[in-house]
Amino acid sequence: MIDIEVLSKLFNNYYYFAAIILFIIGFHTMLTHANLIKKIIGMNIMETAAFLIFVSIGYIEGGRAPILDEGFDQIYMNPLPQALILTGIVVAVSVTAYALSLIIKLYQHYGTVDADEIARIRSYKP
């Protein structure tokens, strides 16, 4: 029997649900794909999921950015998670750039970005 309460909780917190799905997609891509670029894409999706979960903590329906302005009686969102996630995004960008530059170097050495292929070339070395 489907518990209607569980379903409604799931529906009301759809962003958490989406974050979990994204996390699993990213994790799966990162661990199972042999293509290194796809691994990096999976890594980014996984990080995005973590960011989504963090930002959605401070999200309020109809809230606005907490900037001091006329009309003090408005609903403000919690800005802290957003500020933190901005830092997180910076970190993710730098990790991605670094990983891509490593992949370029690997491509120069092996002529492929496929991890299985690289392992094969390495084991072939007499």
Partner: protein, 494 residues
């Protein structure tokens, strides 16, 4: 102007970052100043850590609010006994490794990347100092990321195939760990609204009955995240390649310090942020204990069959990080003190062994253990230091390795777990099995067919490992002040 010692921790982190960003400019325009700048900033780091340790020991721990914002809103630095202990360990070993590294890196690296190496090294040191002093989970995450990127980069700076592959593997797994740490932080923030470790410790007991799932998930993610980064047993796969491929000073720092800093972060999160009652309900520490026992045995057994000396040392690191986690997960006073002591001792032993291996590779080009017969006659001081390190790894009385193993064993007995003592003894025996043949071969082995070509060993490299060797003996014979300090540390944590 009011510059008292309370500003020192933030000055350390900020000045290291400042020096790191100055380094590329200096290296481009005034090449000869680059190396003195690194040495000067690391020396400042070491001296101020020493001063901070004295100040904290005398006046007691203190807190520092960044930007003048008090904790629930601002970032707080907590400079307690644990923080100064870690700062001192990182700064002294880091200083010795870079003094050694100046010679070795000129030999092993291309000229144009040397300045970047200094930048990355200082960034790594700054982030480790940051992890030691910060009391804020998100700030810790940022420093963990900085240290992950710079640690990967000081491996890949050599641009050989092995280095780049190892560093990519490290980077991917390390990012996986960071993602887990971030999610765990989000879970805790969701239910408490705090990121400050002290406030979390206050609020978590009140909310843990309402949100058991969040706490369970956060515990799991924290174990995986810090476990990957600290190379706890089933998550260690990146370590052997990464630490083997890196240049020798990098290996020394990575193996001696970087994996330890994550263990220390683990300690901070699990014993300072989470209230102790949680571990009675969720046996996460039992799991970590089990994993660390497996790590000790697995690392030692796999190290025995290695042919490359650096790879053997890397596998030995997996076993040794097991000791640290063993001490932490027992959660007894003496066990945690033993784990912390092992951070310090293993940082000394392992960086010395890596540096000694670096000298062997530098002067003879030998990496295979089998070829090291008769090396003791050619490089007596290096192999002598290596012997001290090996004895300390095995845990012979008179070396500092014995003291930390003894503390761990006593801590295990305090909690009524004699089986841990058996594991420690067994692992010492295994250590003996893979370290002693090298020493015996080097001094008493019959020389190989071709006569070895021995290059000249620069004095600085030799003095730095002899200094570390002296430290190993010194803290093996006279550990009392360190133990007294750690006693205070542990009383403050538990």
């Amino acid at each position: 102007m009011n510059l008292n010692y309370e500003h020192l921790p933030v000055i350390i982190v900020a000045l290291l970052l400042l020096a790191a960003f100055l380094e590329p400019i200096v290296y481009r325009h005034k090449k000869s100043w680059a190396a003195p700048l690194v040495i000067a900033s690391m020396a400042f780091f070491a001296l101020s850590s020493l001063y901070l340790m004295a100040a904290v020991n005398y006046h007691g721990p203190f807190n520092y609010y960044l930007g003048g914002w008090a904790p629930p809103f601002g970032i707080e630095l907590e400079i307690d006994y644990l923080a100064v202990f870690l700062l001192l360990t990182f700064s002294v070993i880091g200083l010795i490794a870079i003094v050694y590294g100046l010679q070795d890196l000129k030999h092993g690296l291309k000229d144009e990347v040397l300045g970047w190496y200094f930048t990355l090294y200082l960034l790594l040191m700054a982030s480790m100092a940051g992890i030691s002093v910060t009391n804020d989970l998100f700030n810790m995450y940022v420093f963990v990321e900085i240290s992950a990127i710079s640690a990967c980069a000081i491996i890949s700076i050599k641009e050989s195939r092995e280095c780049i592959e190892a560093s990519l593997k490290y980077l991917i797994l390390s990012t996986l760990g960071s993602g887990c740490i971030l999610l765990a932080t989000a879970m805790l923030y969701m239910i408490t609204g705090h990121l400050n470790i002290g406030y979390l410790n206050d609020v978590l007991p009140r909310v843990m009955s309402h949100y058991p799932n969040n706490i369970l998930i956060s515990l799991g993610f924290f174990v995986v995240g810090y476990g990957v980064k600290a190379a706890l047993f089933p998550l260690h796969v990146w370590l052997p390649d990464a630490h083997t491929a890196a240049p020798s000073p990098s290996s020394a720092v990575l193996s001696g310090l970087v994996i330890k800093v994550y263990a220390a972060a683990f300690l901070k999160v699990f014993l300072k942020a989470y209230p102790r009652e949680i571990f009675l309900e969720i046996p996460v520490m039992e799991i970590v204990l089990f994993l660390s026992v497996l790590a000790i045995l697995y690392g030692s057994i796999v190290a025995m069959v290695q042919e490359d000396i650096k790879k053997m040392l890397a596998y030995s690191s997996i076993a040794q990080i097991g000791y640290v986690f063993l001490g932490f997960s027992l959660m007894g006073q003496r066990a945690v003190a033993g784990g912390l002591l092992h951070i310090f001792n293993h940082a000394m032993m392992k960086s010395m062994l890596f540096l000694a291996a670096g000298i062997i590779i530098y002067s003879t080009g030998i990496r295979r253990i089998r070829d090291m017969k008769g090396l003791g006659v050619k490089l007596p001081l290096t192999m002598g230091a290596f012997t001290i390190g090996a004895l300390s790894m095995v845990g012979i009385p008179g070396t500092n390795g014995f003291i930390s193993k003894w503390q761990l064993a006593l801590g295990a007995l305090d909690l009524g777990r004699p089986i841990i003592v058996v594991v420690i003894l067994l692992s010492s025996l295994l250590n003996c099995l893979y370290y002693m043949p090298i020493v015996i071969n080097a001094f008493f082995g019959v020389k190989g067919e071709p006569e070895l070509e021995i290059g000249k060993v620069p004095g600085v490299m030799l003095y730095s490992i002899l200094f570390l060797g002296f430290g190993i003996i010194f803290f093996g014979i006279y550990p009392a002040p360190l133990l007294a300090f750690l006693q205070k540390t542990v009383t403050a944590i538990l």
